[in-house]
């Protein structure tokens, strides 16, 4: 049973080659085609049973995210190249990266006739941020003034000015804040939702390109049927009649359905088919980089892996891994060797960071560094990498440890955990005594999102307890820059610090590996592995 487990929380819908800054998201209002396609042309695609009711602020995994993104329209969406485009927003403006004024288009409606106004957004965000509502995405509102995760507290930074205008005040400047607004946590909700949120989650009413085909469209564990929403006027208007999202617990089943002609679009080829999918699908196969970064974390507290000795050993371990060969042999080219800590689809990515040589395979240098570290204190024991067996990680962990064994002459093995939750709990309690696999799928397209949650002192997903004041300072500086290039320069410098400290050993970027049937055309994949369903046309 393979479950896609890399960054379950990630569902943002974007590729960012252009960083949205204050005010620059005003243009680009793609004229609405509004020609919802042939109602019989239903495109079928793979999905998985949502783990929570379909409430945008509580949808933290890919299964529900795919559906929520089709049902709702936020202030902005991300186009094929990943550039943010205004959806409901007329304009999002700021002069100081801390105070934002949002104007929305007038006359928009939810599918039940409720108007989409400033309150639809502000109330939904207040709901999502309120502690006692226990919404999984509440931390997305953490930068808005008034947010608290210790007591119920309203977001005082949100003020409705009139029906089509509201203002946002952040507690600190965040230059990439407008970029985050395409994430599902920031979707609006109709007034009717609050009366019974649970019932709403079973049968959500949105303002997006699709809507539920009927009140019973969601057949649990089987599929959900969506039809095009004729009232949607934004840039994501559906060019097909609707979507049938079929839930699979096993990606092999979905792949067989694609080959058997029962499925039109598949966004995740199972790793057992990496060797075959190109011959099976020909030019209907897709393999392109995505915003998924994979690594393994070496906690500082491990013996011989901290301080100066640790720096040498970490570099040696990194250089003893032949990323080119592993991505070619184990992954059949569906991973791209990493050259930094982010992803090539993110604006500001570069493969020429100072010190990136440490990510190149160099067994001789690795041996030398390892021997140098041995002079400080001789190595003992076995180097282990913890991983969860329910995520299909065994293959590469074995290949990596085999490389360490061959090139460093040390004992190295994988340490499997039966379930993801066991691994996570051990990481969270800091009881894990080995290195462990780690990964990140971006919530929204920005370098900051790959760095801050993972390596900043005390950050939520900083399971290796990495802490470097210089790094923290650079991130803070970047966040308050109002110029995108200046911010990215700060993040580059921050990553160069990471390349010396190596809190995690970067391995590779995951690709989107998908395909489609002969029945459909114009299948384009977003940076985050999710196809742009509204663009797909069916013959």
């Amino acid at each position: 049973m393979k479950i896609r487990r890399i960054g379950i929380g990630a569902i943002a819908l974007a590729a960012a080659s252009a960083l949205v800054l204050s005010g620059c998201a005003t243009g680009g209002d793609t004229p609405s085609t509004s020609s919802s396609g042939d109602s019989s042309a239903i495109v079928s695609t793979n999905g998985s049973e949502p783990q929570n009711p379909l409430i945008p602020t509580n949808t933290t995994e890919t299964g529900g995210g795919k559906i929520v993104d089709a049902l709702f329209a936020g202030l902005v969406y991300y186009d094929e190249k990943g550039a943010p485009v205004n959806d409901v927003a007329e304009s999002i403006e700021s002069t100081d990266a801390q105070n934002y004024t949002v104007k929305i288009k007038s006359g928009l409606k939810f599918t039940n006739g409720d108007p989409v106004d400033a309150a639809s957004f502000v109330d939904a965000w207040q709901y999502g941020a309120l502690l006692s509502n226990a919404q999984g995405s509440s931390y997305f509102f953490a930068d808005i003034e008034g947010y608290s995760d210790s007591a119920d507290s309203p977001l005082t930074g949100l003020v409705v000015v009139d029906d089509t205008t509201f203002t946002i005040k952040l507690s600190t400047p965040q230059s990439d804040f407008p970029l985050r607004l395409g994430y599902s946590a920031f979707y609006p909700l109709p007034k009717s939702a609050y009366a019974d949120m649970k019932a709403f989650g079973e049968n959500p009413i949105g303002n997006g390109p699709y809507k539920f085909a009927s009140d019973t469209a969601w057949q649990h564990n089987v599929q959900v049927d969506l039809v095009a929403n004729p009232d949607y006027t934004g840039g994501r208007a559906a060019k097909n009649g609707g979507l049938k999202i079929v839930f699979y617990a096993n990606q092999d089943a979905a792949y067989s359905d694609l080959l058997g002609g029962n499925l039109d679009v598949l966004d995740a080829i199972p790793d057992s088919q990496f060797a075959n999918y190109k011959t099976d699908l020909g030019d209907r196969a897709v393999n392109q980089p995505a915003a998924i970064f994979q690594s393994f974390t070496i906690p500082n507290r491990l013996a011989h892996l901290g301080g100066k000795e640790g720096q040498l050993r970490r570099a040696a371990i990194s250089m003893a891994i032949d990323r080119e060969e592993i991505t070619k042999v184990i992954f059949e080219g569906t991973r791209t060797p990493a050259s930094d800590f982010t992803s090539p689809v993110i604006d500001g990515w570069t493969d020429s960071l100072k010190g990136a040589d440490v990510l190149k395979f160099d067994p001789d240098e690795a041996k030398k560094l390892w021997a140098e570290a041995d002079k400080i204190s001789p190595w003992e024991g076995s180097f282990q990498i913890g991983y969860n067996s329910d995520g299909g990680h065994a293959g590469w962990v074995d290949a990596v440890t085999q490389g360490l064994k061959n090139n460093l002459g040390i004992d190295a093995t994988g340490a499997p955990y039966p379930t993801f939750k066991e691994l996570l709990t051990d990481e969270d309690n800091r009881t894990i005594q080995t290195a462990f696999r780690s990964g990140w799928q971006a919530d929204y397209p920005g370098l900051f999102n790959f760095l801050s949650p993972l390596y900043q002192t005390g950050a939520g997903s900083n399971y290796g307890d990495y802490s470097n004041p210089d790094f923290d300072a650079l991130l803070k500086k970047g966040a308050s820059e109002t110029d995108a290039d200046a911010a990215n320069k700060d993040y580059e410098a921050a990553q160069e610090i990471l390349l010396t400290d190596l809190p995690v050993i970067p391995l590779w970027y995951s690709n989107v590996v998908g395909g489609h049937s002969e029945q459909v055309s114009n299948v384009k994949f977003g940076w985050n592995s999710v196809p742009l369903y509204y663009e797909v046309t069916k013959k």
Binding site: A275, E325, D398, P416
Partner: protein
């Protein structure tokens, strides 16, 4: 006053049971000796015995058969490579020698398989025999206990047992995890067979002769009911070896540095369409082993059944 219906002679008058006892003591031959005499005359016994011996030798002394280390000196450049000199069966996906891995995996797989069937047979025979033979509340208690064990999904049980015993992961603990929840199947089949056999005339006869209940169970009922247990158990051997693989796949098995056929079969699954041989070789080793045990089971079954003997 004696009733007129049945006349039963008092034992002191006609001590038949005592005579019966003496007879057994006088005659050196018993069920098992007869069985051995019968078995050794059959070529199939020597074939299966020879095969099992071979498997045992491979398990105990793998270095006689190969010098190639199974887990070191693996290079990705050899990934899924075909046979070449010194590596008659080619390479796995990680570039390890297939032949060496099969030879070195024999011991683990055979141990797990045998331990599991010993465990399920001992528990299954105990529960099944007493439940079937004594009936009543003994049956109710033992059978319902079996029902509880059998209702627990074995994945859950294995995950819990192996996680709790994660410090002591070994052939023993994994066999425990597999066997502890598989025995009710054996128990129920044996119970059913005993229910049938205990109605037979010779059992009634033994009872009438005053032979103790336990003795009847072990001397007469069990040997005559064991055939279906043998039939299931020899096949279960394969199930146990494959189950070890499934547990490794779920992350609650033995570590990936432990060689076993099951582990290799699982690892080879992703290359099913590109390099099926890495899957077929360990499966074949498994088949041959199970085959020899099935044949041996046949011989034992026939040998234990005096009627089958007489028919030949």
């Amino acid at each position: 006053m004696r009733s007129a219906g049945h006349f039963v002679a008092p034992l002191e008058e006609t001590p038949i049971a005592a005579i019966d006892d003496v007879k057994v003591a006088e005659k050196p031959s018993n069920l098992w000796i007869d069985a051995w005499r019968d078995a050794r005359r059959r070529p199939i016994f020597w074939i299966s015995g020879g095969l099992i011996l071979l498997v045992l030798v491979v398990a105990l002394f793998p270095w006689i058969f190969t010098q190639t280390p199974p887990n070191d000196q693996c290079f990705l450049s050899n990934s899924n490579g075909g046979p070449d000199s010194g590596h008659p069966l080619g390479y796995t996906k990680l570039g390890c020698d297939v032949y060496s891995r099969i030879i070195n995996g024999t011991s683990t797989s055979l141990s797990v398989g045998l331990l599991v069937i010993v465990l399920t047979t001992v528990l299954g025979v105990f529960f099944g025999a007493f439940a079937g033979f004594y009936g009543g509340w003994v049956d109710a208690t033992l059978s319902r206990l079996g029902d509880i064990f059998f209702s627990i999904p074995y994945i859950l049980a294995a995950v819990v047992i192996m996680s709790v015993l994660s410090q002591y992961r070994s052939i023993w603990t994994i066999s425990l995890a597999i066997g502890l929840f598989a025995w009710p199947s054996t128990a129920r089949v044996l119970r059913a067979e005993i229910l049938r056999v205990k109605q037979a005339d010779y059992i009634t006869a033994s009872e009438a002769l005053g032979v103790s209940k336990l003795k009847i169970l072990f001397r007469h009922v069990l040997p005559n009911s064991i055939a279906p247990v043998i039939a299931i158990t020899t096949i279960s051997l394969a199930g146990a070896i494959v189950a070890e693989a499934t547990l490794s796949f779920l992350g609650v098995g033995l570590g990936s540095d432990v060689m076993s056929w099951g582990n290799d079969i699982n690892r080879a699954q992703s290359d099913l369409r590109t390099n099926p041989m890495t899957l077929i070789y360990p499966s074949a080793a498994l088949s041959i082993t199970v085959f020899s045990f099935i044949l041996l089971g046949e011989v034992v079954r026939d040998a234990l059944d005096p009627k089958a003997r007489a028919l030949r």
